[in-house]
Amino acid sequence: MKPEHEAWASLREHAASLITPGFPDRVLRAARARPSPLFVAHFAMCAATAALCLAAVAIYQSGVSGDDATNQAGWSEIAAQANELDQGQ
């Protein structure tokens, strides 16, 4: 285990050397800053996407139902004319 112990010691030394000067001050500054509202931001993004999808579906649906009504009226007119012709004969 001796070489492993030396390796652990150098691991700790190496890791400690990665901490740059001024680290405590940076941490304290970051701790004082308001935490980023990650959850709120994600929730707002999801809600906006869902609202956009619903709006797109509603617009598409209103367009389709308008066309349906026009087509229905056209067919009713044709059916009425066909009936009139049948009765005339």
Partner: protein, 158 residues
């Protein structure tokens, strides 16, 4: 607060490095740990358990970081050459450290955390408290982790 950070920064950095094995994430992880500490210190009910609490915070932060990294790679697959980017030149300057790093990388993150806490000189009871588990479970896992580390460490050396 500043004194607390100064007192523990080296140990937390060593702990984070043992778990992640990456030089480039050590300072960021240590900063995340201390920011969490600074924000939650008021809520610590038993000040005598500060060290166990701090290292639990560090362990969870590092394991979350590794999980996020793994998850990110599912959605953004890296090219094979980007998957295991070597440490920057000069970052690891001893063969023993390199061998230990490679051996640790073969272990599960939780076992790396366990071994690192033992190297910190923490007792089995303290580790059990940190991990919210029993002393017997710590001993069993430690035995297994040590065996695995020894195998990988010596296979790397040969």
């Amino acid at each position: 607060m500043r004194e607390l950070i100064l007192a523990y920064q080296r140990r937390v950095a060593g702990f984070a490095y043992a778990i992640t094995g990456r030089s480039d994430s050590v300072e960021d992880l240590a900063q995340m740990v201390f920011v969490k500490m600074a924000r939650a210190l008021d809520r610590l009910k038993a000040p005598e358990q500060f060290e166990s609490w701090l290292f639990r915070l560090a362990r969870n932060t590092c394991i979350d970081h590794l999980r996020r990294q793994k998850l990110r790679r599912i959605f953004t697959p890296f090219a094979p050459e980007h998957e295991n980017v070597p440490e920057p030149a000069g970052a690891v300057d001893s063969e023993e450290l390199d061998a230990l790093r490679h051996a640790l990388a073969q272990l599960r993150p939780k076992d790396r955390a366990l071994l690192s806490l033992v190297q910190e000189g923490r007792s089995h009871a303290e580790i059990a408290e940190t991990f919210h588990t029993s002393v017997a479970a710590v001993k069993a896992r430690l035995h297994r982790a040590r065996e695995q580390l020894r195998q990988h460490y010596h296979s790397d050396e040969t």
